[in-house]
């Protein structure tokens, strides 16, 4: 784990440490099995076409979980994720597989965030962030917000 982040360490506009992710067809199968989301939209070509999305798309909930990891990695073990939200605005299409373990060349997604507010609420030292999953073109396909509680050095 990365070293612990403290409330004193962050300011407005501080960046959340970027988390890169690569969605592959294999990852979508794993996510379906692990989450129980068996909507054929995420693995069946003809069904995806009939639903108007062209090809199988990345599960919104998987992108949500990437963003949750973005926050939990950044705040460290002593930090707490208090509030979280995200919207699935645009489709993302996974890379197909080249070998049993390696994906084809293609796009990488970047989970990013920055601090918008720093405050104390009761005995909690809080930080608000805007966050997003960005595709290779730099478009935010999954924007969101998070509120975290951080430990203090005091």
């Amino acid at each position: 784990m990365a070293k612990q982040l403290y409330w004193e360490d962050v300011e407005i506009d501080s960046k959340v440490t970027t988390l890169p992710k690569v969605a592959t067809s294999q990852m979508l199968v794993k996510w379906a099995g692990a989450s129980g989301d068996f909507n054929p939209l995420h693995y069946d070509n003809s069904f995806a076409e009939s639903q108007g999305v062209g090809k199988p798309i990345v599960h919104g909930a998987l992108k949500r979980q990437w963003l949750i990891q973005l926050m939990t990695d950044w705040i460290g073990e002593e930090g707490t994720l208090k509030k979280f939200s995200c919207q699935y605005r645009s489709m993302d299409y996974p890379r197909t597989m080249k070998t049993m373990t390696e994906p084809q060349e293609g796009g990488t997604w970047y989970c990013k965030g920055k601090v918008t507010k720093k405050y104390v609420e009761g005995d909690e030292h809080c930080v608000d962030c805007i966050i997003r999953v960005e595709n290779e073109k730099g478009e935010a396909t999954t924007p969101g917000r998070a509120t975290v509680i951080l430990p203090t050095r005091g």
Partner: protein, 164 residues
Amino acid sequence: MLPEEITQFIGKEAGTSIFEVERETIRRFADAVDDSNPLYWDEEYAKKSRYGSIIAPPGFISSPWFSGRPTKWGKKSTSSSEARGDLILALAKAGFWRALDGGIEYEFSCPVRAGDTITASSRIKDIIGREGRTGKMVFLIRETTYTNQNGEAVAKARQTSIHR
């Protein structure tokens, strides 16, 4: 603007499910996300942390495995979860047969540990009709509260699905 056949579901219970949080299920979930946080994987490490045991990643509990899925043996297919099925049917009948996940909002109040038993209760919070770029859409908002075996509130989730 939405027909009564659809709006009648606003405020209705949409199913309660009870599930156990297992270590291996947590690991499989973390593996699918490619999240190597030792709090999800390493019992010894997690024991020494402030949590005292392996925890589930925030968001784990809203997996379809746990909330609202009727089981093969029918225990979870209560009349209230049927309300959700009936609503999906009513939407399809009215021409909204394509569905997409729109997003989610969480408030987390206490960690979920391996071994916890969670009760998830859902309610249809709202159903909103909108005119979009590609025609009429319906936003269905479902609110779920999660409680652990000690009666502590664990989390609240508000999920939006978009029906076209």
